[in-house]
């Protein structure tokens, strides 16, 4: 298992997340897609750190996990807020603002 394998895995996961963001109509689904992308990057970071033997990459990963969590929490909060005022969680119905 070389670095390339990890990078490929990460890239694949990233693309799956990307696909999820674009195809999902449900806002929660879109959020999950973004989470997947973030975690793919974490794999990348850990792999780079592991293969170059440097610590910062690992530390970095810990930070990004924290940030991702905060982001997810905020995302869910916004979705709940949105559901309260709009009674929908479908991304396609949110087009009051356009043009």
């Amino acid at each position: 298992m070389g670095l390339a394998h990890y990078l490929t895995l990460a890239a694949t996961l990233f693309c799956i997340g990307l696909f999820g963001v674009v195809t999902r109509r449900n806002t929660i689904g879109i959020l999950l897609g973004i989470e997947l992308m973030m975690n793919a990057v974490n794999i990348n970071l850990v792999a780079f750190a592991r293969f170059s033997g440097s610590v910062p990459g690992m530390v970095f990963t810990v930070f990004t996990i924290c940030v991702t969590v905060a982001e997810a929490a905020l995302g869910l909060a916004i979705v709940i807020l949105l559901f309260r005022v709009r009674r929908t969680v479908s991304a396609d119905h949110l087009d009051l603002l356009k043009g």
């Binding site: 949110l94 009051l96 043009g99």
Partner: protein, 693 residues
Amino acid sequence: MVALIPLFPFVGFLVNATCGRRLPKVVSGGLASLAMVAAFAVSALSVWQLAALPVDARAIEQTVYTWIASGDLVLGLTFRVDPLSAVMILVITGIGSLIHIYSTAYMHDEPDSEFARYFSYLNLFAAFMLVLVLGASFVVMFVGWEGVGLCSYLLIGFWFKKKSASDAGKKAFVVNRIGDYAFILGMLLLFTRFGTLDFQGVASAVAGLPPEATFGALSLATLLLFIGATGKSAQIPLYTWLPDAMEGPTPVSALIHAATMVTAGVYMIGRNAVLFSHTPETMMVVAVVGAATALMAGTIGIVQNDIKRVLAYSTVSQLGLMFLAMGVGAFGAGIFHLYTHAFFKALLFLGSGAVIHALHGEQDIRNMGGLKAGLPITYWTFLIGSLAIAGVPGLAGFFSKDEILFETFADGHTVLWVVGALTSLLTATYMFRLVFLTFHGSASAKATADTHDLAWNAGLPSHAHSHGHGAGSHLHDAPPAMAIALVVLALGSVLAGYVGVPHALGGHNQLATWLEPAFEAEHTASATAEVVAPAAEPAGGLQASGEASEESETGEARLELTLMGVSSAIAFLGIGIAAFIWLKRRPSTSSGQVEIADRMAQRFPGLHRLLLNKYYVDEVYDAAVVQPIRIISEEGLWRGFDVRVIDGAVNGAASIVDGGAWMLRRLQTGSVRTYAGSVIFGVTMILGYYLWR
């Protein structure tokens, strides 16, 4: 002290803009006029100082402070009075003062707040115009250039409740933006080429270069500047806004759209005489465009029926003559004509304003007639103005127009001379058509004129009170404030030409001599003086060349006298034609006699229609630019969306902009997934470029 000149009107603007609404009319109008008079006094004083200086050092420069000093550009807010700007500031502040005074009477029926708004715009305009002519560099000039455009546009649309006024404002705005765009680009190009934007700096950098015989960067720069000038000075192809600009109050037409702002393009070329002289190709373009505009506008002017539109086309035509002069290198002649034109055209506009004022908004000359008796002051001053613009010997227009024609001929441009002469003929004809139809004949002629298709109430909404518009019933001639302005300008129209009496008539053409140093680069002028000094008299080239070839001098004088005779004859011929067609056989009440003009219109229906419709230029623009927008907009995008002035400008100017906006707005669907798609598109493009380039 020079900085005080624009400062006075600016202070006037500040006062009227901030608390003018609470001031009575006497105070706000008086203050505005006073500011202009003060500016005139300071201008006169500076010019007097300037004249006291030796000829080759005639420039008063004042750097208020260093405006921009960073990188490779050091630029002061520098004002500079030299012979050229001296002429300009005198014209602007002098005629400006008169028009301010005139306006206090003309606008008197407006409510206080509107009155103050009017004067604040007018003062602001004057301030910017003075910055434009006093600026010692392109950037400072540009400040004024943008500013006067803004004010002009605000004043055209002053009566914004009238749709035609706001439409005209739009048009002026769009056309001027096109010109400004070219102007900025020209400026940037010059900056990259010479690393300076100071007029003197550019001139002395250019002076060392050989003339650019083929098209190059310099030609491009001057051409771009010239396009900017065509926008501001209403030349082909950007002239269509000026006749429409007559929707503004008449004093505004006199000040901005006849005497000062529209001459900015001419001034700009004069200011950069050295630069333009080095690009003969551009000069040729300038001359041809000028001549073509002069002729075309003249032919249109002869069939217009709105008193102000006739004058507007006449302005376009006269500006064309000035550009012709600039183009053949007769910078002095062009500025001379600018200066005399300012007098008589302002006079004519103010006179027409007095007529409109007396007739409560009537502007159609077919509904006028016989006003001579009722409006004596207006009539006589208007007549003087018409004689002056027609080029009758002895009046201001004669000397300046003649000098342009002579220089054109002497420079070898026979065709352009013919065009210029024809334009003079047309000028005399349409001006006297105006005089005869308006002031002569019988007042009742209007009864037969059933053609009310022109909106006669387009002038002054506030005058449209119950008086009706009957000519001759109870006319009141210009009130004192208006009369003063008319009389002073009439005097000017007679006398202004005497500063430029040509040598051929035994004069000294002081104006040309005075202006000469302004058209040369400062350093080269002194350099050549050093070289020439041992050989000839240090006094300058004029005298030296005069002595060197006295024989050719007399030959030239004879030619000039001949041409002068020709143009005088042309002037009288034009007046004669006008008298023959429109004076002698004016139809009386119900004689059924067909007027000569009508007969001619019948004989050449196509030509008449072509002229009446202004060569269909507006229609072509309409079809090519405005209609596509309208079609797009009727799709529903703009429905229920009526912004009075600029909205349509946006429509009219740039179909591409709107079409693009329309398409791109549809991309902004509101769906977050589309937006994510756009991001992915961007990522793909960038990564694709990097990985597969």
